[in-house]
Subunit: 90 residues, 2 copies
């Protein structure tokens, strides 16, 4: 299900226009992205938790050339499904 | 940021009441959960892709007792951040 299909399915369920639904989803994403950039994790009841984690610097070895490379540290966005949501997939 | 804080921040940005915002988020989660249960992945532009993956059956060995256990297959919900969102954490 791509973005367009998701927006129209959501619009149908909410009884909104596609345009309003699309704007709504963009606003929600905007709020979430800002909070995560500020370093705040976001726990959404019934869905799960989004967390920004720091991946440490590490050394990687090219298996072909045995050359060693330093991989710099980076921030990664992770998602952990809530227990209630996980239950739905059992 | 827990669920309550997220809802009130979102309500403030959208200009909705907390109650309406909470219902809205629940409806969105409901649509997403249903689609994922139906086996559909969901790609949300500017945010990322949610995908249900099948983890295969595997044998696990208890390191203390060397006892072998069969871990049954299961479905897991995964999330992959979009490139645009990942860029924001560089």
């Amino acid at each position: 299900m791509n973005n367009k299909e998701f927006i129209s399915e959501l619009a149908r369920k909410l009884g909104y226009t596609n345009k309003d639904t699309s704007q709504l989803v963009s606003s929600i994403i905007g709020v979430m992205a800002q909070e995560l950039q500020d370093g705040n994790n976001i726990a959404i009841q019934g869905f799960g938790t989004f967390e920004v984690k720091k991946k440490l610097e590490r050394i990687s070895i090219n298996p072909a050339t045995q050359q060693r490379m330093l991989i710099p540290p980076k921030l990664v966005l992770t998602y952990k499904p809530s227990v209630t949501l996980k239950e739905k997939f059992k």
